[in-house]
Symmetry: C2
């Protein structure tokens, strides 16, 4: 149940192969604080341009910070709320617009925040947890609800928890959950020596 | 030599802990094609908004595509050229500006490309290779040299190869190479329940 192995033309590491974004989370399983810290440490050690670490993560744990969890949940799109309601932890990832060392615009801020975020997700996979990153949320609402500075952009909400059986999902989401994972063929995104699109 | 273990308050997975961006690469060790394919497969299976896969990777392998490697090398900043000259493979990562399914601007394009790029780097770590992502290159020059469309942005050049001893580096770079890895404390980038900056 944990994962649907991807189709890869050559073996890749388990945690990359098994990372997957399910929608069915176990509502009754919380995440202990040491596990949560490991996820954040994984993000912390991601690389970044000038080692600026332009990411910020606002961790909303339903067990310890219920009102924060409820605020972040309220900013999710309706379709995401249907399943994300069971995720014990919701994390808002944000990217700082400007470099810390000179205040100039950092064009890698989103790129680096994406790297830190997937590092968190991969660590979760390694620990038997599941994650699902969402772009479907109201970023402006998040800025208001959490009084965020104008110098950052909310990028994703990451649902974290333990995976549950697909059966608990509504029929249409269950169908999505059981579909095989898919990606474009290598040749469509990876070019050797010259641009081929 | 392979890695300088990071300081983490709680254990994280080896490939996240050991991924590191050295400057000393073995000039005489090329990367076989199956290994290279595994790196690309790791990037391919990264998650993305609407599964759009907005990343493109232009792989310049000195062994098989020398002129492409030389072109990409020529676009690197001088300080990066000093050490990147020994990397047998240079990969240009690019992000597509618009969603494939509706042509609208994709604000997660950089974020998703960052996730795919670090996936490639983590797979390299798992296979005993080293990677070093660079922002220090001329993106406009890359667009000209490789006749890239205006619908994409070059994001990074990723040096890939086998790590070599720091001794082969010039003195100042050797000093950098031997420094302990550093990150901000967890509390500066990771907040529980509310924005704390």
């Amino acid at each position: 149940m944990q994962n649907k192995p991807a189709i890869s033309s050559t073996p890749i590491h388990d945690i990359l192969l098994n990372r997957w974004s399910p929608r069915s989370f176990a509502a009754d399983k919380s995440i202990d604080s040491q596990t949560l810290t490991a996820l954040l440490e994984a993000a912390r050690w991601a690389p970044s341009c000038f080692n600026d670490q332009p990411w910020r993560f606002l961790v909303c744990d339903r067990t310890t910070h219920l009102s924060a969890w409820e605020k972040l949940f309220s900013a999710l799109g309706e379709k995401n709320q249907i399943w994300a309601k069971n995720a014990p932890v919701l994390i808002l990832s944000l990217s700082m617009h400007d470099f810390g060392h000179n205040g100039k615009p950092n064009r890698w801020s989103g790129y680096d925040t994406g790297a830190a975020s997937i590092s968190l997700c991969l660590q979760a996979t390694a620990m038997g947890l599941a994650t699902h990153q969402m772009g479907g949320f109201d970023a402006d609402q998040c800025k208001q609800l959490f009084d965020l500075p104008d110098t950052c952009s909310p990028m994703s909400v990451i649902a974290v928890g333990y995976q549950a059986a697909a059966d608990q999902l509504p029929a249409d989401l269950k169908e999505t959950e059981l579909k095989a994972r898919a990606r474009k063929p290598l040749s469509e995104c990876f070019y050797l020596g010259s641009w081929e699109a």
